[in-house]
């Protein structure tokens, strides 16, 4: 029964995708959207059942193969599922947000010509994500991994006539591919070590492997390298420095997509993967330190960029990267459940923020520039409310979901009690301050003050189809933090994590409120209020050193330029190789050159033939003499 449910989820999603993709024009857009949403909703219900099952039956793991992908001697790869609490939870989140976005999109995309194509894509995306989440082996994970990347590629380029959109999607795909290249090597390294792609077998084989006696490459442990490579894949997917550059650009896609893919689900695949492979990762000590640093740097430095950006979606995108940095840094201290908790809360409030932004953008007729907004609070009250909820969550206002998850990360970071983790803790604290500043800046500039874009009278709330998802998500954002104990006690797969001191909800709240994070919250509020609500200058900020720093930040640390240079270099190399080496040297000089030489020789021969009878006769006699001479020399 349960197996059937599990199988039917991906099947329903593929069905939805195929129906939307190949249906004739008789199916109207609205109907198509409704059908698609219903199918996703059914899947969501199924996933709830599965979720319920896994959380009620302790230590029960659903595991089976649908079919054998490859089964030859020495290599067995199945396509199947492994449902434990982690994946069950993830499935629910994915399907829920997907459903919400489906509904939202019916309203948001209603005027698009390619409405059905859009729905086909998001169904396909949901399918790939489910494949990734429920997978029981690394290959299936990789298939889903690339699948979500593909759909992300297609969706960023959804408005294919826009030059910026098709540039962004290419960039997104290619940078993900860089990650994937390392990822696949990582997968293979794990396979070679553990002799299986299958999680179950892998982890049971792990116990047989003598970790300390493994091969070393350049002074690094085998398992470190493998995990490092896997993590590079995660870095690309979860937009960590320096492979984060694609995510802000990906905002060229339709806004619901930004909510679904580039905030709530796909970008967290990296986190999910590391959590999934946590039994391996705990052996990779060097790599986890690396993960920690990368996460912290991302959390702080990318967050800072958000303060200076004026595109409403990009600000949220940078904030996403920054929040992902928090999750990653939690992974760096093997606090997988904590990271996962933040993933879960973040999914709701970030999706909420994006959808609200979408609502604003739609109301303003596709204006995304926040300098042209302001004072929308009156005209868009529901959106404002929801946006406010989202903002409170992200800045970790007490009792909102963000408060719980972010505080937990900070706590475990402090609790880890090493030099590195303390340093990271400081960075994350500053990050929290930055988060407060940019989040409040956004809401202040957009919803408060006065409207800077023209006639405010024309602006009004969108339809209920748009607003109801906001409300659902807002509710979830507010309450989802209270299930903290579930997460803290969540065993990640068949392996325990480091114990976390958690003494109940109330002590946690009180401890959280009194922590340094609250100071950053208050400080951040005042800075933002001063700067953006009251529009006052802070003299400190007009200091020329700070200007210089802000210039660096505004340039986004030149990462884009770096990748641009890389691609230019590649093009130049390719051009050189194609024209100079391949055509000039191999083709012209050797392949055609040799025949040309022969032809030249031939023409020369032809030109020296005189056609005179006496030359012919002479040649005959000469040859005769030579032949005689040679043979005489041999016989005498």
């Amino acid at each position: 029964m349960l197996e059937n449910l599990i199988i039917s989820i991906p099947i329903l999603l593929v069905l939805s995708s195929a129906v939307m993709g190949f249906s004739s024009s008789k199916l109207t857009n609205i109907n198509a959207g409704i059908i698609s949403s219903i199918l996703v909703f059914i899947s969501f219900i199924f996933s709830l059942v599965i979720f319920y099952y896994s959380f009620t039956n302790e230590n029960s793991i659903l595991y089976d193969d649908f079919y054998q992908w490859i089964s030859i001697s020495g290599l067995n790869i199945g396509m199947g599922y492994l449902i434990d609490k982690l994946s069950a939870m993830m499935m629910v989140v994915v399907l829920l947000i997907s459903f919400v976005v489906h509904v939202y999109s019916i309203g948001y995309m209603r005027d698009e010509k390619d409405f059905k194509r859009f729905f086909s894509y998001i169904a396909l995306f949901t399918f790939s994500m489910i494949l990734l989440v429920m997978s029981n082996n690394l290959i299936q994970l990789f298939i889903g991994w690339e699948g979500v990347g593909l759909v992300s590629y297609l969706l960023i380029g959804f408005f294919y006539k826009k030059e910026s959109a098709i540039k962004a999607n290419l960039k997104a795909f290619l940078i993900n591919r860089i990650g994937d290249m390392f990822f696949i090597i990582g997968i293979i390294m794990i396979f070679v070590l553990l002799d299986s792609f299958d999680y179950k077998t892998m982890f049971s084989n792990l116990k047989l492997v003598d970790i300390s006696n493994l091969e070393y490459y350049y002074g690094f442990n085998y398992i470190d390298i493998a995990c490092f490579f896997l993590f590079i894949g995660a870095m690309a997917k979860s937009a960590q420095i320096p492979l984060h550059v694609w995510l802000p650009d990906s905002m060229e896609g339709p806004t619901p997509i930004s909510a679904l893919i580039h905030a709530a689900t796909m970008v967290t695949a990296g986190i999910f993967m590391v959590a999934r492979l946590s039994p391996v990762y705990i052996y990779a000590e060097v790599t986890t330190d690396f993960i920690l640093i990368i996460g912290a740097l991302t959390a702080l430095f990318i967050g800072v960029i958000a303060i200076f950006d004026n595109d409403i979606k990009k600000v949220i995108a940078y904030s996403t990267i920054s929040q992902l940095g928090y999750m990653v840094s939690a992974l760096g201290i093997n606090a997988y459940t904590v990271s996962f908790f933040h993933l879960y809360t973040h999914a709701f409030f970030k999706a909420l923020l994006f959808l609200c932004a979408g609502s604003v953008i739609m109301s303003l007729h596709h204006n995304q520039d926040i300098t042209k907004m302001g004072g929308l609070r009156k005209r868009l009250p529901i959106t404002h409310f929801c946006f406010l909820v989202g903002t409170l969550c992200i800045i970790g206002f007490p009792l909102t979901s963000g408060f719980f998850s972010k505080d937990l990360i900070l706590e475990v970071m402090l609790y880890e009690n090493t030099d590195l983790s303390f340093f990271v803790y400081i960075l994350l604290l500053i990050g929290a301050l930055v988060t407060t500043v940019y989040s409040l800046r956004l809401i202040f500039i957009v919803f408060y003050g006065t409207y800077r874009g023209g006639d405010i009278k024309k602006i009004h709330e969108e339809s209920f189809v748009i607003l109801s998802p906001l409300i659902i998500l807002a509710t979830l954002s507010l309450i989802s933090g209270f299930v903290i104990h579930t997460f803290v006690e969540l065993p990640i797969f068949m392996f325990g994590v480091k114990e976390i001191h958690y003494e109940g909800l109330l002590p946690f709240i009180s401890h959280g409120v009194l922590s340094p994070a609250s100071v950053t919250l208050i400080a951040g509020f005042f800075i933002a209020k001063h700067l953006y609500l009251d529009n006052k200058e802070i003299s400190f900020l007009s200091n020329k050193y700070f200007k210089k720093i802000s210039m660096i930040i505004k340039s986004k640390y030149k990462f884009d330029e770096f990748f641009l240079n890389c691609s230019d270099f590649m093009k130049a190399t390719s051009y050189f190789a194609a024209t100079k080496f391949d055509i000039k040297i191999i083709d012209s000089f050797i392949v055609n050159g040799l025949p040309r030489k022969i032809n030249k020789l031939s023409t020369y021969f032809k030109s020296v033939s005189s056609g005179y009878l006496y030359h012919y006769a002479f040649l005959i006699v000469f040859s005769l003499v030579v032949i005689f001479g040679i043979i005489l020399a041999r016989v005498l």
């Binding site: 032809k606 030109s607 033939s609 056609g611 005179y612 009878l613 006496y614 006769a617 002479f618 006699v621």
Partner: protein
């Protein structure tokens, strides 16, 4: 004492000279024909030498045939030369190189 080798060497020398005649000569084709006659003459001499040496008359029979054929050859050669001369009004070998390469 004149041995057969003397004769053979003479005949070989005659052959070489006539062969040289063919390619040293660049003036007219008639001389070519004459050189050819000379060449066949040396061949004939060879046959006669061997015929005499082995006391076998067959060699001389061969010479007889060669003589006949050589006469026929001269006839045809002269005919070709006459026809060439009619067409070109010249017998210079230097000018016969339309066909080349």
């Amino acid at each position: 004492m004149i041995t057969m080798t003397h004769y053979l060497v003479f005949s070989a020398l005659l052959f070489c000279i006539s062969v040289a005649g063919i390619f040293i000569n660049r003036k007219n084709i008639l001389l070519l024909l004459m050189s050819i006659e000379l060449m066949l003459l040396s061949v004939n001499t060879n046959f006669i030498i061997f015929s005499n040496y082995s006391n076998d008359i067959t060699g001389q029979v061969f010479v007889f045939f060669i003589l006949a054929v050589a006469a026929a050859e001269s006839a045809i050669g002269l005919a070709i030369i006459v026809s060439l001369f009619r067409a070109r009004n010249s017998l210079e070998i230097n000018l016969i190189n339309k066909l080349k390469g």
